[in-house]
Symmetry: C2
Amino acid sequence: MESMSDDRLSLLRRGPRFAELGDDELAGAHELATERSFACRETLFREGEEAEEFLVVLAGRVKLTQLGSDGQEVIARFLGPGDMCAAVAIFPGGTYPATAEAVEETRALGWRREPIDALLRRYPAFAVRAMRVLSERVRELQDRVRELSTERVAQRIARALVRLARQVGRPVEEGVLLDLPLTREDLANMTGTTLYTVSRVLTEWETAGIVRTRRRRVVIRRPHGLVSIAEDLPDPAPPGQREGSTT
Amino acid sequence: MESMSDDRLSLLRRGPRFAELGDDELAGAHELATERSFACRETLFREGEEAEEFLVVLAGRVKLTQLGSDGQEVIARFLGPGDMCAAVAIFPGGTYPATAEAVEETRALGWRREPIDALLRRYPAFAVRAMRVLSERVRELQDRVRELSTERVAQRIARALVRLARQVGRPVEEGVLLDLPLTREDLANMTGTTLYTVSRVLTEWETAGIVRTRRRRVVIRRPHGLVSIAEDLPDPAPPGQREGSTT
DNA sequence: CCGCGTCGTTGCGCCAGCGCAAACTCGAGG
DNA sequence: CCTCGAGTTTGCGCTGGCGCAACGACGCGG
């Protein structure tokens, strides 16, 4: 192991994905991987191509998208450090179910099929851990299906923002900054609506003091306000509003 | 192994889920399970309860549903013989992500957490197989998200019917019968629409000779017609239509 | 500091699909 | 054969959200 390894090992360990592995397992896993770098807007792989590598992001952000039949893109999710993708590369003949594009300078570790297969069979804990991650993804996706089926646009956008806050939120002066470049269109593609509607909703929330947006940036000023909208609860009083109407 | 075992073993083997297991592994897996029976409309487990058992359906049909925030149900999927569910029972503290209700007389095998965990760690092939099933489920769910985000109601209903045809279709005189009790409301809950809209769409398709419906039953007479609608292609000529307007 | 491309906003017209209400009908169980 | 309740149909009015078009503005790179 060269000197950079410690860096990557601790990164691997920090993410929830590999917490169950012991030191030697982790080192073994790491030695079989190759590191890759991607510039902003470079694509890591495309939907439909034969899956070659199972990937774990070390640094940066990646946007996973699917192509709708009529050409518009649907965002499956964003990846950050510690997140894995392309589990399908474990199985022979699998094809990438989505396109992965770096939205920032990104580094990732990749495992080809044989090594990852060997790891899975050698360290059952590794497979069980992967199952857990997949189970969580299934749950998330079912939630999204439920939301798309039963909730209004504003609710879905609120949920998307809350989710992003949990995933890539960084506390700043004004509130919580979503630490990735995010356009109205991205948000629309995450929630099954249009960039126009997203724009209108965000403008409204900005007026209400719930969010503050700059170009490609969103800061959440009153997370609880968003949660209320997501859960369809009555609007809670913004802090500093003392005009008596609020019990 | 008592005499009934052969029955169940072959059923387990027939489903795609356990194909990779050898005889002894299969037998080992089977001996650790307990068999359960459920009457029509009986619930196997409820969303939110602590997950006790990982289940594989032997016979019958099960409806998996989630509850929307405002109380309406969303159908995740239907299970038939060979299908597994509640993979989350493998992990301590997991809760069922959905409610399972038998829509026919149903038998299932259940494994508690310890035995299934032991199996997974003892037979890595078992875990890898489970990962594959989960990967496929992820893909299916992503497809559903894409459909709900980008397609119109008629397309989504067509897709739901095509999917059901593949899963539980049985060839009959008139076409392909969807071999499970299926109301307009079920179909609405599968596609994120309302029973009214489903009724109107099905009426239209019945007029066009694409489907034939009876109470709680659907027969697909022209599968290709449905596929065309699902893919948003121009309507293909129904067989027997020779009135010259077609090309 | 400037220019330009990308991103964001907003007015306006429109329609797919919702959802109530009320009537109808199928078919299982007695 | 009848009954009854679950399932289905259909008319009607309404609206949330779409999407074009046109404009506005931010901020990066030169």
